[in-house]
């Protein structure tokens, strides 16, 4: 079954849902429709997509995306790749964790690293990073702390532990603090490393 047939089947079975073909995958235009599409693919005897292999996010600068790879264990077919795009400032996607238990950790991971909010998820917490971590590291605009530059708090900690700090480093940290900046590393952009 090729991708356009799947598209037309979904659209005819679910009136009001529109999907678009994007590089051999189906883009569900409205995030709210995702659960309906997935339920249809899972339950309809033609597809029986009972196995959600992979859930992941991606950052395309203009929007965030969540990508789903569906397979059928019963019919040994697949994959059908679904994708949903949301605005960066309001990344809300319905969770699939109630349909597929397998989405539970993967959605938590995508939330952790991309900040995509999966609505209705039973337990949406950070998975790898600790609670209170600032930012979402896999977004392309995420800035890391620069390990080469010390901040005032670091110096304070080091001095409490009896480590002498050279004057110029102390001065640099002081300046940074006065400017209200943090020591963030410039993220290497594409090709910049070449």
């Amino acid at each position: 079954m090729n991708i356009s047939e799947i598209k037309s089947k979904i659209e005819s079975a679910l009136p009001g849902v529109s999907v678009k073909i994007v590089s051999q995958s189906l883009l569900v235009e409205k995030p709210g429709n995702l659960t309906r599409v997935v339920r249809y693919l899972k339950d309809s005897p033609e597809f029986r997509m009972d196995y959600l292999a992979s859930v992941t996010g991606a950052d395309y600068l203009d929007y965030l995306e969540s990508v789903y790879h569906l397979y059928s264990m019963a019919k040994k077919t697949g994959p059908i790749v679904l994708r949903v795009r949301v605005r960066r400032d309001e990344p809300k996607i319905p969770s699939l964790a109630r349909i597929y238990r397998g989405a539970e950790f993967q959605e938590r991971e995508a939330y952790d690293l991309f900040g995509i909010l999966y609505e209705n998820h039973p337990d949406l917490r950070r998975l790898f990073l600790w609670e209170g971590f600032e930012g979402f590291p896999l977004r392309k605009d995420y800035l890391q702390e620069d390990s080469e530059i010390l901040e005032a708090e670091d110096i304070q900690w080091l001095e409490e532990h009896g480590i002498p700090i050279p004057e110029d480093i102390r001065k640099q940290a002081h300046e940074l603090k006065q400017q209200g900046l943090r020591a963030l590393a410039q993220k290497p952009t594409k090709e910049s490393g070449v």
């Binding site: 009972d50 991606a58 790879h69 397998g102 993967q106 991971e109």
Partner: protein, 385 residues
């Protein structure tokens, strides 16, 4: 006052207090820095919350800042017990993305390496499971005795025992000499005898049966729904092996069977792994018979070996997956036409197989939680990434 009387009536005087215990991050049986937050009623488990991330290094972000070729050694570190399988998955994904062909000899070498890795993994997992069961290192050391022989081969072929970094896009890094093949043949020949000895030690052992049978039963529908893959899925009786389903590489040339479990408990997970090793031995025998001299890497790909930065897959995306010993190991790659991947994602079986940990453990004893975790077979390098 009223509240108090109500509570007094509600609580059974025989009820005991629950005890919250953190198993890990420093604990002998969590297979690394992993934490299980277990609430106990006596010895019975009320709830389990896995806490992970102690080994998180943002593997995906590291990879997105590297060239495609430079990611290969990092994949070794995912599941550090089977680096060859990780290499295989990544190579498949990139080859799918850039539409690279792989010559026949390279395919054979890849299959041989992948199946040897499966032997290494399964044999040591069973050893560790027995350690969790309380055997004093004997099964582990018997397993390691065999594992060492295979690691010697890996060292001779790839240069490293565990971090092999052996696969390249379009083939493998170096050719395998006839002497090495002969050595592999010898190991493969002796392996069934070792398995027989291993089974004599374990399979019918009453204590092992007592401990493992009907513990941590995973029903097949839950297994499928929770995206469980690998031996854990097949122990529940679901016939799904990516080697058969996707027929990737040259697996369709070999005749082998997929062992399926009976009840889906810890014992089945143990025994399915034993049977899988026997099937792997069959594949290895056929592959060693079928391997012919030829190119070990596609000539078109050799140019990228020296200049990784010139390797720019066309814009697009690919999802490559292999049947790693732990389950479905998938790599999702998005290329924007530059030498570095725009998006690189690892679908790690260790993490996703852990989804059902709580379902399997609740109602069992503390000791069972440990062996259930052991039977799921996690590797923290891959779980935390």
């Amino acid at each position: 006052m009223d509240e108090k009387t109500v509570t007094v009536q509600d609580t059974n005087p025989m009820d005991t207090e629950t005890l919250e215990v953190n198993f890990g991050p420093q604990h002998p049986s969590t297979h690394g820095v992993f934490r299980m937050n277990i609430v106990l009623d006596g010895e019975t488990i009320v709830s389990v919350k896995p806490v992970m991330g102690y080994l998180h290094r943002n593997h995906e972000q590291i990879a997105e800042n590297l060239t495609y070729a430079a990611v290969m050694p990092y994949t070794d570190r995912l599941d550090y017990f089977n680096s060859m399988a990780n290499n295989f998955g990544y190579a498949l994904a990139v080859e799918k993305l850039a539409r690279i062909e792989v010559p026949e000899r390279a395919q054979y070498i890849r299959v041989i390496m992948a199946e040897l890795t499966r032997l290494v993994n399964h044999v040591s997992v069973i050893g560790f499971l027995l350690n969790d069961l309380g055997a004093f290192f004997t099964p582990v050391l018997y397993a390691f005795r065999e594992r060492e022989k295979i690691l010697d081969i890996f060292e001779a072929i790839s240069g490293s025992r565990m971090m092999c970094n052996y696969f390249r896009f379009g083939g493998v890094k170096r050719d395998v000499s006839d002497a090495d093949l002969e050595q592999i043949r010898k190991i493969v020949q002796k392996f069934p005898a070792f398995l027989d000895e291993f089974e004599a030690l374990l399979t019918k052992n009453e204590i092992l049966c007592m401990r493992c049978q009907n513990v941590g039963v995973l029903p097949p529908d839950l297994a499928v729904n929770a995206s469980i893959t690998g031996p854990v899925l097949r122990a529940s009786g679901v016939n799904y092996d990516i080697r058969k389903v996707d027929r990737y590489s040259i697996y369709e040339r070999f005749s082998f069977r997929i062992p399926l479990g009976d009840k889906g408990d810890v014992y089945d997970r143990y025994y399915v792994r034993i049977l899988e090793m026997r099937e792997s031995v069959k594949i290895l025998e056929q592959a060693l018979k079928g391997i012919r001299p030829g190119e070990f890497i596609h000539p078109k790909s050799t140019s990228f070996l020296k200049l990784p930065r010139n390797f720019k897959p066309p814009v697009g995306e690919a999802y490559g997956r292999v049947e790693s010993p732990k389950g479905e190991l998938g790599y999702y790659l998005v290329s924007d036409g530059t030498p570095q991947p725009w998006r690189y994602h690892v679908r790690s079986p260790s993490l996703i197989n852990l989804t059902v940990l709580e379902d399997l453990c609740v109602g069992h004893k503390v000791a069972d939680a440990i062996i259930i975790l052991g039977s799921i077979d996690i590797i923290l390098g891959e779980l935390d990434r």
